[in-house]
């Protein structure tokens, strides 16, 4: 076991958990203790030594208290052209006075909703950080979109995170979307301050029959952020869930994104871009579980890695014995822009059914020199030419974002990063 968990501060941290959700927390704590922080060679964290990172950068394992956030800060963080409702969080705590009242959607603190089945989707025994969050989160948010509600405007989950001396921020989000309801979430974080902090986030999403859910996320935290997130979704028959995850920075980031297709004719899409520089390390572990026949999943992750950055992709697809007529596609493509950048990619298909259509593939390569020369030979400078090619590479994912302001925002961030506007 890690030395970190034996420290007094860590023990005190666990002991000081809030008193609500007692049985949920007990389960979380037991699960955390039995799993322990990942050992150096732990299979699931083989390329992402998160324990070592936490030991070196999180000196003061204690919950980060909410910071004062102003209406100005909220306003300036808003995406250009965004028209929707905003829910504001400060170090994981909901800030109602800065948040919109969303018509037709129930939003409340988790502490007021103790019958919520926390941990029933993102199960604590599947990941030790989900367990840690479940044991010790401060308070969280409960969002319920009622049956047949069609929420036209996107809902922005805007988080301001920052802490002193390496504290811990543990957001906890529960989203339930009723049968036939439709909703789009944008998940965006802003890092405050320069100090290292640990962001350990859990989002559970429960999609009803024929529900349509989009979950778009931009990870553009500061270089001081060590992050693990567990986002897990259950959807029922005829439902559709689409996730687009854009990772642009962070010190060490681990995303566990899981989708359970629980009803026939359900469709799950997971798309992602990781565009990294410096020493950023981003690890996307995705998990799709086909348990029933006639469901479909599509997955496409693209990585662009510069400097000494590191990307990890691990995509698991399970097709259970009953899941005949499954369509499952998975693809991961990477471009390395420097000799020091590293990517580890591993698709994992486990198929027990025999009448299915599944495919997967991964590539790691460099920028196409022929194409680069062709563009330069037409008068385009090298930086812009590279930008055009990389943007084209990422474009296949960007076009999956249906919410226009968010897509434009993502495009702008990527263009800025690639050093040119075109």
């Amino acid at each position: 076991m890690s030395t970190l968990t034996q420290q007094d501060t860590f023990q005190a941290f666990l002991a000081a958990s809030p008193s609500n959700f007692p049985s949920v927390r007990t389960t979380g704590k037991e699960s955390f203790i039995s799993q322990g922080l990942p050992a150096v060679k732990a299979e699931e964290y083989k390329f992402t030594n998160i324990t070592k990172k936490l030991e070196s950068s999180i000196q003061n394992f204690s919950p980060a208290l909410p910071l004062a956030v102003s209406a100005e800060q909220v306003k300036s963080a808003l995406i250009e052209g965004f028209e929707g409702d905003v829910l504001v969080f400060s170090n994981g705590s909901f800030v109602p006075e800065l948040s919109s009242k969303i018509e037709g959607v129930e939003v409340s603190l988790l502490s007021g909703k103790e019958d919520t089945a926390l941990g029933s989707i993102a199960k604590p025994n599947k990941d030790v950080f989900a367990a840690l969050n479940q044991a010790s989160f401060q308070d969280g948010i409960f969002i319920s979109v009622p049956k047949k509600a069609q929420i036209e405007k996107p809902i922005l989950l805007l988080s301001f995170n920052g802490a002193n001396a390496g504290q811990v921020v543990q957001p906890r989000v529960w989203i339930q979307v009723g049968d036939f309801a439709e909703v789009t979430f944008l998940d965006q974080s802003v890092s405050l301050g320069e100090q290292s902090y640990f962001l350990n986030k859990v989002v559970e999403i429960k999609g009803g029959i024929n529900s349509q859910i989009n979950y778009y996320r931009i990870q553009n935290e500061g270089k001081n952020c060590v992050e693990v997130s567990n986002i897990e979704t259950d959807i029922q028959k005829d439902a559709k869930f689409t996730s687009v995850n854009l990772s642009l920075s962070g010190d060490m980031v681990r995303n566990n994104l899981s989708l359970n297709l629980l009803g026939s004719n359900s469709e799950g899409n997971m798309y992602g871009i990781y565009l990294l520089n410096g020493k950023s390390h981003v690890d996307n572990h995705t998990n799709v579980d086909h348990t029933i026949p006639h469901a479909e999943s599509n997955e496409l992750y693209k990585g662009i890695l510069a400097d000494q950055s590191r990307g990890v992709f691990n995509g698991k697809i399970f097709v259970r014995q009953d899941a005949q007529k499954t369509n499952a596609f998975q693809q991961n493509n990477n471009i390395l822009l420097s000799e020091d950048a590293i990517v580890n990619t591993k698709p994992q298909l486990e198929i027990w059914a025999d009448d299915v259509k599944c495919s997967h593939g991964c590539t790691v390569g460099q920028l196409d020199e022929e194409a680069l020369f062709y563009l330069q030979a037409r008068g385009i400078d090298k930086l812009t030419a590279k930008g055009l090619l990389l943007y084209a590479f990422a474009g296949e994912v960007l076009e999956k974002i249906e919410e226009e302001s968010f897509r434009n925002y993502a495009v702008g961030l990527i263009q800025d990063r690639l050093g040119s506007k075109f």
């Binding site: 196409d368 020369f373 037409r378």
Partner: protein
């Protein structure tokens, strides 16, 4: 306009160009012919600035500037245009966005205002008509899924948009049917003026009926071994290259 002196170039240590000398003046058309593998595309690529070719000796002066000193994009901006023998397919990059970026960077270099969307589109229309290229092709990704002939036509379309001073056409005629050849040649001829020059690299005399050269050069084993007028091309058409090869090979023994 262009002065090439004693140009030597290698790829991965293997010498390909072994002392090229060529003078091109404004208003002229030069044809470069020669057997496969003699270094024609290498010469074109070296002029355009492809990095994998290492210039080991000699100089290239273009309008008073040392061309070999310039980055590929600056050569293009100075007015050198290479129509590629094998144009590259670039999925995800729209033809229009690409051309607009290119044109505006070239214009900026030449001290001109960028073209706004409206002016750009009307210029595109005008030049599309010149090479009779289908609008549908240009709404796709750059060269993606184009036939060989469509790619060649797109090269000439780009040339028309960028209005180069020196155009180097590397086997632009290969694979074209006679109609396409006529259209492409027509486009090239319309873009010619007494201020521009053209180097056409070709295998076939056929093209030279349409784009009439002032000079014809034969490139063999990395050197220009024979120069003449358009009659030389007809002679090569009739007799092939063997007699030239023999002349050269026996002289060097």
């Amino acid at each position: 306009m262009l002065s090439i002196k004693n140009l030597h170039a290698s790829v991965e240590g293997t010498p390909i160009l072994r002392g090229i000398n060529l003078e091109v003046k404004a208003g002229e058309v030069h044809a470069i012919m020669g057997p496969n593998g003699s270094g024609k595309s290498t010469l074109a690529s070296v002029l355009a600035g492809r990095e994998e070719y290492e210039v080991t000796d000699g100089e290239v002066i273009f309008q008073g500037k040392d061309l070999l000193d310039l980055a590929p994009e600056d050569r293009a901006r100075e007015g050198v245009f290479l129509a590629f023998q094998y144009p590259v397919e670039i999925p995800g990059v729209s033809s229009t966005n690409f051309l607009r970026t290119a044109l505006n960077q070239v214009r900026e270099y030449r001290g001109l205002e960028p073209l706004d969307a409206v002016k750009f589109l009307s210029l595109m229309k005008e030049k599309m008509a010149l090479v009779e290229i289908d609008q549908k092709l240009l709404s796709r990704s750059l060269n993606e899924g184009f036939s060989g002939g469509e790619k060649k036509r797109n090269e000439i379309f780009q040339m028309a948009m960028l209005e180069p001073t020196l155009s180097i056409l590397d086997e632009t005629d290969s694979g074209l049917d006679i109609d396409a050849l006529r259209i492409v040649s027509n486009g090239v001829n319309k873009l010619k003026s007494d201020k521009t020059a053209t180097i056409v690299v070709t295998h076939y005399q056929r093209l030279l009926d349409y784009i009439v050269p002032d000079y014809v050069h034969v490139l063999y084993k990395g050197r220009i071994v024979k120069s003449g007028t358009k009659e030389l091309a007809l002679e090569l058409e009739e007799k092939g290259y063997d007699w030239i090869k023999e002349e050269v090979d026996s002289a060097t023994v």
